[in-house]
C-alpha cells in the first residue's frame, strides 16, 4: 500500500458471509439509484488512512464508506440510522431473529 512493504499476499480464497454479500448488494443498489458513484466509495476508503487497512476487513471498510456516502447524499440522517440500528439490534443477535422484525 502506497509503496510500503506489506508482507506476503495471502492466496487462499474464502467464502463471503451473508452480511458481506449484502454490503456488496447495497453498493450496487445505491449507485444504480444515483446516490453516489464508485468514485465516492474510493474517496472515503482512501481518506480512512493506512491504519484502517490494518484493522478493518474489506467489507467493514466498504460499509463505512457506503454509509458515509449515503448520509452525504441525504438518503438518511445519522439520527435515523441510530434509531434503525437500535430497532434491529433489539430483535436479537441471529440472522433469523433479525429477519423477523
Amino acid at each position: 500500500m502506497g509503496g510500503d512493504a506489506a508482507g506476503p499476499v495471502p492466496s487462499e480464497q474464502h467464502d463471503f458471509s451473508l452480511w458481506e454479500k449484502r454490503v456488496d448488494a447495497l453498493m450496487v443498489t445505491a449507485s444504480a439509484k444515483g446516490h453516489f458513484t464508485v468514485d465516492g466509495l474510493r474517496r472515503v476508503l482512501e481518506d480512512m488512512g493506512p491504519e484502517a487497512f490494518e484493522t478493518m476487513t474489506y467489507y467493514e471498510r466498504w460499509i463505512m464508506s457506503v454509509n458515509q456516502n449515503l448520509i452525504e447524499a441525504g438518503v438518511y440522517t445519522t439520527a435515523e440510522l441510530a434509531t434503525r440500528m437500535t430497532e434491529v439490534a433489539a430483535r436479537g443477535n441471529s440472522y433469523g431473529e433479525a429477519s423477523n422484525g
Partner: protein, 95 residues
C-alpha cells in the same frame, strides 16, 4: 514511428481525493494513446457532476519512475492520467 508526445505529471500533493498515483507525480512519460473524454473522477468523488476530460494513457520507463539504479530501467509501465494532471514536456526526464 510517429514522434512521441511527452507530458509531465504534475508534482502537486493536495489533500482530498486524487486519482493520479503519487509515485508518478513529477515524472515524464509519452502518450501511448488518448482515451475519453471521461467525467473527472475527482469531482464525481464528492457527488458533483464530473467535467469531461481527456484521459491519456502514458508510458513511463522504470528508470524515469524509480531512478536509473533500478533493475530494468528500460522496462515500461503504462498509466492512465487525466489531462488536468498533465503539462506538456519536451524531455523524457523530469527536471
Amino acid at each position: 514511428m510517429a514522434e512521441r508526445r511527452y507530458f509531465r505529471v504534475r508534482a502537486d500533493m493536495p489533500p482530498g481525493h486524487v486519482r493520479t498515483p503519487s509515485y508518478l507525480r513529477g515524472k515524464t512519460g509519452w502518450v501511448e494513446r488518448t482515451l475519453g473524454p471521461f467525467p473527472n473522477p475527482e469531482e464525481l468523488a464528492y457527488g458533483h457532476k464530473g467535467t469531461p476530460l481527456p484521459l491519456m494513457r502514458l508510458r513511463f520507463t522504470m528508470g524515469e519512475v524509480w531512478g536509473t539504479g533500478t533493475d530494468n530501467p528500460n522496462d515500461t509501465i503504462d498509466a492512465e492520467i487525466y489531462a488536468n494532471w498533465l503539462e506538456p514536456a519536451s524531455s523524457p526526464h523530469a527536471p
